[in-house]
Amino acid sequence: MTATTHEIEKMDTSPVSQATVKEGNGRTIIPDVDIIEKADHYILIADMPGADEKTLDITVEKDLLTIRGRMLITIPENHRALKSEFRSGNYQRAFRIYEEIDRDGIKATFHNGVLKLTIPKSENARIKKIAIESA
């Protein structure tokens, strides 16, 4: 628990994440991700609890893939925080992709606070199996 909270604090002050923050209003939360390579595509899964579907934004610009989303929690007035391990803010994370992908074929789903992207490899990047002809 402490480790996770600490990590977020650190990311906010690092020069890299500050430079990537473009929107104001609230903190930037870097979502935890899994990226798995399959034979002909990649799967990117990001935990973005509380993010609102309407605010989800996935862009591919040249080789930079960016995912964004806003957590919408209404903070009640006249309250006292007893435990505060997470805060609302904007999810944002960017990846450079060093392999050719099929930009138009990216599919995204969002379910129970989890964003899942299916990123097809381009034809060139797929591993081709070469059939061995018997002599």
Binding site: V16, D34, D47, D63, L64, P76, S84, A94, I97, G113
Partner: protein, 163 residues
């Protein structure tokens, strides 16, 4: 890893589209936001035994008449979460499962945590167990816990006498 690998391209270095699986810091998916973070965490390598399973982060706020607990439970649905109240101890239980069809393949990032969890939060004052409401939306669990009549009466008394 050389120090140059840590400098993002927008500082002027040209990116070379090379696939280097052996180097986790510069794989196909280079992480923009965590580059510096990883650089620093290099010095503090966590022993295997401390690798965390999943445990939800929670917020607990107190209002005049109630407590509100919010827990981050991405990837779970309401049927997989159990909320119990016992003597002012609120417990959240569940299991975050990995989808099997997704898990086979080679991982470039594996930051998400899985596993069963149980968190118990003591509430500072008595709540009315019959009026507790829980709902689940977009991976966030919210539990509303109204304070008991007795507690509300006592706090009202204090307010009057202090005027």
């Amino acid at each position: 890893m050389s120090i140059k690998d840590l400098i993002p391209s927008r500082f002027g270095r040209k990116e070379v589209p090379v696939r280097r699986i052996d180097d986790p810091f510069r794989s196909i998916f280079a992480d923009f936001d965590r580059m510096f973070d990883r650089f620093f965490s290099d010095f503090a390598v966590e022993p295997l035994s401390t690798i965390r399973g999943f445990s939800p982060r929670i917020d607990l706020v107190e209002k005049d008449d109630r407590y509100v607990l919010t827990a981050e439970l991405p990837g779970l649905d309401e049927k997989e979460v159990e909320v119990t109240l016992n003597d002012n101890l609120l417990t959240i239980r569940g299991e975050k499962k990995e989808e099997r069809e997704d898990s086979s393949g080679s991982y470039y990032y594996a930051e998400r945590r899985y596993g069963s969890f149980e968190r118990t939060v003591p509430l500072p004052a008595e709540v009315d167990a019959d009026k507790v409401k829980a709902h689940f939306k977009k991976g966030l669990l919210t539990v509303e816990l109204p304070k008991s009549e007795k507690v509300l009466k006592e706090s009202r008394k204090i307010k009057i006498s202090s005027e």
